[in-house]
Structures are given as structure tokens and as C-alpha cells.
């Protein structure tokens, strides 16, 4: 489903964020991407959603070569990938309901369908009853669940969670991971970048470890190597 072929990315200041990455992720997989800060985890995500182009190499989503997409088509690519950000990237001047339904408006769903879908997803993430609250009125874990709801509501092919438990306490972190597992059961590919070794070691999923922009290990039922 996702293929990185000989991907290298170097930033303008000379920093090599990724080097010769060859990676394949199948549909429905649950994959952890681990590694220290600066290993290149977020860069992988940013390349996948075409925030920028790699210095070298190709990226494929199914048969679509992401590098060759025109600027117009990038928006359509991003609608296939639901992203949960570490810094939430929520609109704080809109309510919980408005933040989630916005994603459906962007993809052009009808009003009626959007309302039904939004209700369903808010129920899934446990935010029923908080529809009219603003994000500032929510706890950290609830904001992250809001981010997850927004990512999931458009029924993407892939969820990329970029350190979604980074700012959360352990209990809340597990709640997020359980939700991601639930979503994965619906055949949605889940890629989770994380530092959280307890979660990684407990779930026994595929673990790809990055260090200094390179893949050091890729294990089917891996562990977090400190």
C-alpha cells in the first residue's frame, strides 16, 4: 500500500533527515515507527502527505506516485491520510463538533451525512456530550481524541499518528492506543510514531526503528530498543 523507494531527504541547512529508506507497509497493518528525537519519524509523515518533496527517491500510495502529484492533487492525497499530530493542530476557535464536521465539509460530504458521521465518530472516541465545548475546555487526552476523531471521520485509508501520546499521562495514552487498535480492526492502516516503549512492547506489532535517518531494524513483532 505504501512504498518508500530509496528515499533520502536533506534539509536546506545540510541536515540529512532520511537516508536510503526502503520501506513497504501493507493495507491493514499496524506499524510503530520508533527512534530518538531527530531520527526522521516526522519527516516520513511529512513526505507521505507531500508537505515537501524528497531529495531523492520515490514514494507510492497504492499506484499513485506521490512525488509526481501536481499541486492541485495534493489536497486529494491528504484526504486519504488521516493525521493525528503531537501538537493537536486543532482549531481552538471552533467547537468539538465544528472541528470534526469541518473535515467532512472539506471532502464535500452532504450536511445530513456529515451530521450522522460526526455523531458516530464522537461516540467512538468518547466525546459524546462535549460537542458544544471548545478545545480549551477539554483535557489534554480529550483534545487528542478530538484530533483522532477528525482524522477518522473522513474514513481514510491510513491513519498516521505522530507521537499522539507524547503529552499525555499513561492512562490517557493507553486510551488513545486502544482507539487506534479499534480503528485498525476496520482494515485502516495505522502508523504510529512513538517514544512510548511500554506501548510498543505490549502490543507486539511491527516495529520499524529509525536512527539518524536510517532504518536500523524492522521487526514483525518487535520491541522498542532503547
Amino acid at each position: 500500500m505504501i512504498r518508500f523507494e530509496d528515499i533520502t531527504h536533506q534539509f536546506g541547512d545540510g541536515t540529512v533527515a532520511l537516508e536510503n529508506i526502503n520501506l513497504k507497509i501493507d493495507k491493514g497493518e499496524f506499524v510503530f515507527i520508533t527512534g530518538p528525537s531527530g531520527a526522521g519519524k516526522t519527516t516520513l509523515l511529512r513526505l507521505l502527505i507531500r508537505e515537501f518533496l524528497p531529495t531523492r527517491g520515490k514514494i507510492f500510495l497504492n499506484d499513485l506516485e506521490i512525488n509526481k502529484l501536481s499541486k492541485k492533487k495534493i489536497a486529494y492525497l491528504r484526504r486519504k491520510i488521516g493525521v493525528v499530530y503531537q501538537d493537536f493542530k486543532i482549531l481552538f476557535d471552533r467547537t468539538v463538533w465544528e472541528n470534526v464536521i469541518l473535515a467532512l465539509e472539506i471532502v464535500g460530504r452532504s450536511k445530513a451525512e456529515s451530521q450522522v458521521k460526526t455523531q458516530e465518530v464522537l461516540k467512538l472516541v468518547g466525546l459524546t456530550g462535549k460537542e458544544n465545548l471548545f478545545p480549551r475546555q477539554l483535557a489534554g487526552g480529550e483534545i487528542q481524541r478530538l484530533g483522532l476523531a477528525r482524522a477518522v471521520v473522513i474514513e481514510p485509508e491510513i491513519i498516521f499518528a505522530d507521537e499522539p501520546t507524547g503529552n499525555l499521562d499513561p492512562q490517557t495514552a493507553w486510551q488513545i492506543v486502544e482507539l487506534l487498535q479499534q480503528i485498525n480492526k476496520q482494515e485502516i492502516t495505522v502508523i504510529m510514531a512513538t517514544h512510548n516503549f511500554e506501548i510498543v512492547d505490549s502490543l507486539k506489532k511491527r516495529v520499524i526503528r529509525l536512527e539518524r535517518g536510517k532504518i536500523v531494524t524492522d521487526e514483525k513483532k518487535g520491541k522498542y530498543k532503547k
Partner: protein
Amino acid sequence: MFTILKTTFIQIRRTPYQALAAVMALTLTFLAATIFTFIFFGSQKILKYFESAPQVIAFFEKGEDLKEAEIADIKNNLEATGKLASFKYVSTREAEKIYKEKNKNDPLLLELVDYKILPPSIEISATQIEALAGLKEILEKQPKVTDVVFYEDVINTLSLWINNLRLVGLILISYLTIQSILILVLIVSLKILIRKEEIEILQLLGASFWFIAKPFLLEGMLYGLIAALMSFVIATSLLLYTTPIILNWLGEIPLFPIPFFFFLAVLLGEIILGGTLGILASLLGVYRFIK
């Protein structure tokens, strides 16, 4: 559609002073355009009046009407040029009638004047303005002519003034339009800057350019429409207020009443132009800064 409208009104509410600045700049532009539109059409009507009015008038000796044969003779001489458009003989009695009608509100003037002291006259107009000089010469040579009044200079001077006024109007309106567009572009770019983070998030969520741009375009269109309406109301009120003054100044030139459909056409034209200008200016700002 409702969501876009809601977003637009929220945007306007958040930055009311910018909205006010945009509307004021556009109102000034449209006010100038409306006033010059009124002046343009009014001056066209005045010019047409003078062009269709007798352009040469020959006056004869006071109190003495011309004979039929004499009138026919003069007419034949003028018609021989092939440039005569109209010919009219005004007798002393007719001149008295016209005088009394003009001064019916002034009994003192009416007492002093009767047909015996008024001259008969011949009023002519030419098929082309260039032919007037020739016709005037013929009239001057006719017997019993005491004076020949020639309106070509009046029309040429009027045409020159009107053309100059149109040019000034065009330059002023062009300048104000460019200024309005620049102000609107600046305001839109400031709004985009304020919403920079939000726009980035929308782009990450897969929002297309038009999804992000629509509220800004709608906002620009609203500014244009409000400005067009306001300027129309102000200009029309000014026109109505100054009607007595204009009537007094114009005298017998039939500029009024102005047909209702003229005002409707001006209003519709302004609404279309206002909306279009607002959208285009916003699109310029959005395209520059979002792309």
C-alpha cells in the same frame, strides 16, 4: 453554503475596522463613478438639446413681418446648398406669444412689450455643424436682416468641456479603482496573515484552494455590494437635493424628469460592478498569499 457564509461573517466581525476601511474606500470609488455617470448622461442630453436646437437665427427689422414671397425666397436660397436640415419663420405675433409665455410671471415686463417692438426671425439648423458657416453667410446677405446669431461656437465649446470632463472623470475613477483594489488586497492579505495557522491546518486536512478562498471572495463581494448601494443612495440623494438648483441653472433645457429606469439601470450596473470588483480584488490577495 451556509458554512461559508457563517465563516465570512465571523471573519468580518473579528476585524470590523478593516471591513469599514474596505467599504469606505470602495464607496468613495463608486460615489465618484455614480456622480460622473449622472454628469455623463446629463451632459449627453444637454449636448443633444443644443444640437437639435436652431443653430442659426437671423433677426429682421422690428415690428415688420416678411411677405410670403420673401420668406420663400430665403428658404430656396438656403435649400440650394443641400445642407439645410430645418427652416422656421417666427412672425412678430408669434414672437410676442413666445415672449409672453416666457415672462408670464412678470406682469411689468408683459405691459412694456408688444409685437410692434419685436423682430421676426428665421431659425435654421444644418445637416452638419461644418455647413453652418456657409448658411450663416447666405442669411447675412438677405435684405432686411439686422442680426445673425450663430450657435456653432456654443456647441463646440460645450463639446470640448464635456469631453474634458469625461476625461477627468475617467482618470479620477481609474485612480480610485486602483486604490480600492490595492486597499482590498492589503486587507485580505492581513486577514490571511491573521488566519495563517488555521489556513495551514486546513491545507493539511486536504482543503482545496477554493475551499479556503471562498470566504475571502464572499467577503470582498459583500464589501463591493455594500459600497455600491451606499454610493448609489448618496449620489441619488445629492441629485434630488440639487435638482432645484440644476433646474434653475439649465433654464429651458429639458433634462428632467429623469426616467426611473435610468436609476434602476445605474443601480443594477453598480451592484454588478461592485460585486465583481470585490471578488476580483479579494482573489488577487488570496491568490498571492495562499499560493
